[in-house]
């Protein structure tokens, strides 16, 4: 199913195809490539039943704006009555009792949810190898990781198991797997999309965004998910001005694209650097203004990110105590033993490592040396972006330092794995929107992604430029 939602909708409205047919075709794809381990749950009958409902709505002429769009959602997002495991043994049998606002807004416009996708445990990871239910294989090369943490979402879109998948992005968890699997992934501005119903990892970083194959689909889903929600005090009220059709009316002439000097240096796979240069040349030839910019504090992103996010995670994950929901160890003789054993048996290795690191940086005597210091550097990074956006309208950078690596290649060294997020964490530290788009392949036929970062709440410029780049031919 290579066409976009707009094309599909025409076919649905004209009766050329039906939602039932569309859902069946995706379900077949899911079954054919089960070994990719993309889904943690698939809603077979329910999705077909919903398809019939929406087919009827379309015929009756009162279907919603996303009628017949088949989506999947990452298993850290709540959908009432459905399991939400967060890819953790801790929540293996947990059933959500409410629906995330972002998901509900899509349901209200008649999307069909086909299932919930695999991810790194509690969204902590860059390869999907931290899932308690096994790694997701990259559809482009099954010996490689799909990326993480939204690896299942990226693979689901790449393998055409759904049209759109909702992922979450705390430090690159939408953009990095999107790059690894060759799809589009958008991390919205912090505050644009309500986090209500997103299982908290690092609350001041967490965002929900779409992965897909068509820019307009991404824009449409973003528009519908956007907006203030009284249930998320950090959601922003004045973002509803964004309309998907806006992206088609943006004049890209004289748009200023910033190339970040610090991001094209050592450690970047040469083919990715070449691809960036190729894109830059094309944009320059098309009349866009290319400027080199410097963001000197970006080199401290990973350090700052791992202090702040592990600190927030250690606090957020304190709720898993074996008392009210989630896993309780059979060896729970007294309350203290219940806490310790339930947490130690229920959490996986990476989650425990981050809780430990986060507890350490927040502990007495270290708070100023780590946590407070990192908050200061976070401001310097934010200021870097503010300054850069005085000179340019968008920043063009790699999405990842390399293309998809092999399964097992980086699991022995946590720091090595963390450095994978070197180009993506800065947008979460500063809050800015950023999108990864596929622009070709390396010599091993693995997808290459590049990233566009925009001013706060200026997703439309990033989407318009992304659309423009995607429309030019890349080999």
């Amino acid at each position: 199913m290579k066409f976009s939602y707009r094309e599909l909708r025409k076919k649905l409205d004209s009766g050329e195809t039906s939602c039932r047919e569309v859902v069946s075709s995706y379900l077949n794809k899911i079954n054919e490539r089960k070994h990719l381990n993309v889904f943690l749950s698939v809603f077979n009958e329910e999705a077909l039943k919903k398809a019939d409902e929406i087919d009827y709505k379309i015929k009756s002429g009162y279907a919603g704006r996303l009628a017949g769009m088949v989506i999947s959602i990452k298993d850290v997002l709540s959908l009432k009555g459905k399991k939400m495991t967060c890819a953790s043994k801790m929540l293996e049998n947990f059933e959500a009792v409410y629906t995330a606002t972002a998901v509900q807004r899509l349901i209200d416009e008649d999307v069909i949810i086909i299932g919930k996708t695999n991810c790194d445990e509690f969204a902590m990871g860059s390869s999907n190898e931290n899932s308690a239910f096994g790694a997701v294989l990259n559809p482009a090369d099954e010996s490689r990781v799909a990326g993480g943490s939204s690896g299942g979402s990226a693979a689901a879109v790449a393998a055409e198991m759904c049209m759109i998948s909702l992922g979450t992005d705390t430090g690159g968890s939408i953009r990095q797997p999107a790059a690894f699997c060759g799809v589009i992934g958008l991390k919205p501005t912090y505050g644009r999309v309500s986090r209500y119903g997103l299982t908290a990892f690092a609350s001041s970083f967490d965002t929900i965004g779409p992965l897909g194959k068509d820019i307009y689909d991404i824009a449409l889903v973003l528009e519908i998910m956007s907006g203030y929600d009284p249930r998320d005090s950090t959601s922003v009220s004045d973002v509803t001005d964004f309309k998907a059709e806006d992206i088609e009316n943006i004049d890209l002439n004289n748009l200023r694209i910033g190339v970040v000097k610090e991001y094209l240096g050592e450690g970047l796979q040469p083919e990715i650097r070449d691809k960036i240069k190729e894109v830059i040349e094309r944009l320059r030839d098309s009349g866009l203004i290319i400027k080199e910019v410097s963001l000197p504090y970006l080199k401290y992103s990973i350090q700052t990110y791992y202090i702040l996010t592990t600190a927030e995670a250690s606090s957020n994950l304190a709720r898993y105590d074996g008392a009210r929901y989630g896993y309780r160890s059979p060896d729970s003789g007294d309350v203290e033993t219940m806490y310790i054993n339930s947490r130690s048996e229920g959490f996986g290795e990476e989650v425990k490592r981050r809780i430990m690191l986060g507890t350490y940086v927040l502990s007495a005597g270290y708070y100023d040396a780590y946590y407070r210091k990192a908050q200061k550097v976070r401001r310097l990074i934010k200021n870097d972006f503010i300054k850069a956006f005085e000179e340019v309208d968008l920043l063009l950078t790699p999405s990842t330092p390399t293309t998809a690596f092999r399964i097992g290649e980086k699991t022995t060294d946590p720091l090595e794995m963390y450095l994978n997020d070197i180009f993506t964490t800065s947008a979460n530290l500063a809050g800015n929107p950023a999108i990864s788009i596929p622009v070709g392949w390396d010599k091993e036929k693995l997808p290459i992604g590049i990233q566009l970062t925009a001013r706060d709440f200026d997703e439309k410029t990033a989407l318009a430029a992304a659309d423009y780049i995607l429309r030019s031919e890349f080999t």
Binding site: S233, Y325, R328, R343, Y366, K376, P414
Partner: protein, 97 residues
């Protein structure tokens, strides 16, 4: 800064986690490697003059009126409990005698 084995054990206690001796040593090694990398933040000059950034899009607290509202039902709240009695979460005995 580097973290000692005793500190790792102390942190585990605070985090309500337990590890084998081997696990503690491994964690100590990993945490030190990460902390060593994190310590490059110390090279940033005049950081004492920078205000910490707590939140990227607002610096004010958001308040709501303190009004009772319908939330999830008792049944729903208890639905995922590992152990419960009719209206309560059941946990191991907290106080002896």
């Amino acid at each position: 800064m580097s973290v000692s084995k005793e500190e790792v054990i102390k942190i585990a206690k605070l985090a309500k986690l337990k590890f084998s001796d081997e696990g503690i040593s491994k964690l100590q090694k990993e945490m030190n490697r990460i902390l060593e990398y994190i310590d490059t933040l110390n090279e940033i000059p005049e950081l004492d003059k920078v205000e910490p950034l707590y939140s990227v899009n607002s610096s004010e607290n958001v308040f709501r009126k303190d009004e009772p509202k319908q939330s999830i039902s008792k049944e729903e709240a208890l639905k995922n409990a590992p152990d419960k009695t009719e209206n309560f979460f059941r946990v191991p005995k907290v106080i002896d005698k």
